[in-house]
Symmetry: C2
């Protein structure tokens, strides 16, 4: 399989917010386009919980990326103009160091001895990467979902390090509904006997717990409105069903099962737990003396684009509005875009026409 990933060795030890540290850790990332001579045209993309650094196809890896419609030559994030860097989050399992990797101190996988991970750590790791590439100030720091929280953590710790900021379907702090959902996802994994306190392997793998976690994710990433139009009460054909009296009967159930099947073995369960908990812990108010608004006012960006979706139940529009208002109060020129896309939280992955238009317009302005 072709692989466009590059690797960045983090300073060792890499010290973390809650007191732990990592030795010999690295980040996986991919890039598109060329860094200009002034090193002033760099855009960093920070991802949601599960995507890899492969946001789009490139020469080394022509397979479509998770944001293929947005990133590329002539697209909304135009790689003819911008040098684009997408980072696999620290703690993930798509190349960056995470719980599934070998702990050099023991020669064994970290599993649950991986240090407590926060989004501040993920942000600092990505910041080190950018500094390592010789870039002092980003043209734009962009984050989606968990990546949006990570971007806020980045700017709070390194104000002024990005000229502009694009914040998409994210949160300045985790709210109780989102915490409840993520807590239940973690519980489903932890209750799976095969999780075995993090000591699973391919033979004994917490498949059931991961499946429940993923399905609950998909339910909260989309919207009821979209599904009424898409699935209504359409039933599976009899040859798609099994004999289990409580087996799947409706298309929406099979859709969720397909999502779970594609995810379960492709994402490390311990990594999922660490990143999920990091999302719950995130509270920008810690960087503003207890006030989210105070923290937002200090991020020091010139311009910002904040996009939210009315049907998003996990990262509600009110939170996007709060980010926009807070940045504006800090002196940034802010475009706030509320979309009525039916796809809920996932809209940025699906309704790329409208997201792309908003992002393209923002990046075109100087």
């Amino acid at each position: 399989m072709s692989d466009a990933r590059r690797w960045f060795e983090l300073p060792s030890p890499f010290r973390m917010k809650r007191g732990g540290e990592l030795a010999g850790a690295r980040l996986a990332y991919e890039t598109w386009g060329e860094l200009d001579a002034a090193r002033g045209n760099a855009i960093v993309i920070l991802t949601g919980l599960s995507p890899s650094a492969h946001a789009a196809s490139n020469a080394e890896d022509p397979s479509p990326g998770w944001w293929e419609d947005i990133v590329g030559p002539g697209k909304a994030i135009d790689t003819n103009r911008w040098f684009v860097i997408c980072v696999n989050t620290l703690g993930s399992c798509k190349g960056s160091t995470g719980p599934a990797d070998v702990n050099p101190a023991s020669g064994e996988p970290y599993r649950l001895v991986f240090p407590d991970l926060t989004l501040e750590d993920a942000a600092n790791a990505a910041y080190e990467l950018v500094r390592g590439l010789g870039i002092k100030r980003l043209a734009c720091l962009l984050g989606n979902s968990m990546g949006g929280m990570t971007a806020l953590a980045w700017l709070a710790q390194h104000p002024g390090s990005a000229r502009t900021h694009v914040s998409i379907s994210t949160a300045p702090q985790a709210q109780p509904f989102a915490i409840a959902i993520r807590s239940l996802q973690r519980e489903a994994i932890r209750l799976d006997p095969n999780w075995n306190n993090g000591r699973y392997d391919d033979e004994r793998y917490p498949e059931a717990g991961m499946s429940i976690a993923r399905k609950l994710g998909v339910i909260t990433y989309r919207s009821a409105m979209e599904w009424v139009g898409r699935f209504a009460r359409i039933r599976l054909d009899s040859d798609q069903r099994d004999d289990d009296p409580f087996g799947f009967e409706f298309q929406v159930e099979s859709y969720l099962a397909g999502h779970a099947r594609r995810f379960v073995r492709g994402f490390d369960p311990n990594s999922y737990l660490y990143l999920s908990r990091a999302s719950d812990w995130f509270d920008l108010a810690e960087h503003g003396g207890g006030s989210v608004d105070a923290a937002l006012a200090r991020l020091d960006v010139e311009r910002a684009l904040v996009i939210g979706v009315e049907t998003d139940i996990l990262f509600p529009l009110t939170q996007q509005q709060q980010i926009a208002d807070g940045l504006r109060a800090g002196g940034a020129e802010v475009d706030f875009v509320a979309l009525d896309s039916p796809q809920g939280h996932d809209a940025f992955l699906v309704d790329t026409a409208r997201f792309g238009a908003a992002i393209a317009g923002f990046l075109a302005a100087r």
Copy 2:
């Protein structure tokens, strides 16, 4: 423990919609107030998935019921005026015959040989009870949540059998978002090794699966808006926490755990599966030649009150509006009340002041 339940023996065999039948089945119910000489003052309450027939305290059982604020002398459903009957759903485990009861054919509990159960069956059983009490026409048929669907199934099968109808936070057919949630709840139970294809006992009980199912229920019964105000990011005291690195940390997690603890051993898991699946199956369109609206137009009630809540994500307001419009098209005089209670689907159990006022006003009109 005091017990106000009465028992009604269903016709035996009791034939069911999907072809099965029950021998020697019975319903548990409770009553308040006195049936008048003309037998014209009876109100039936059909419940959500989990409540018992104990809607309110009475002489035989002074413990508070699940709708204590609504049902009683001088309350919104005034038992000085009305003869109120609350029915435990067929298939439940609170007295009415369900999967946990002994199958007279085998002398063993039914478990998964309990026949396929639909809300039409639950409605017909309750209808038989009312006929058995000598009541030809109800003053009012009232249903909440799953009980609201059961009430629609009742009226579709016995049009004209209620003079008025109160429909609360329910659905004329299960929509895919609600199906997805319930399917995942059932899956959590079925994946619990202790479920054991329905052959659990007190020693080996699907506690983990039931806990996940209940927590997911509570998350979807309430609203994100309520929880922002109620829990925000309040953390548990250190003495409320355990050493598990992924253990509960936020109050909202402990709140969900408390709900699960109170529910898990109090409700039969197989009964839960049967009633949950019956809810997914419900589609009033089956009674209207494929059209929900046609079915609603035939229910033949004189007046109806339809109440919905804007923050309800499980039974959205659009579905309440559809019920109101359909009943109106059928010639009923309809009051539609959309409440902005923050408690979501559960508001009818919590915001009893506003629900009570709407119900009282409706019942006072003649």
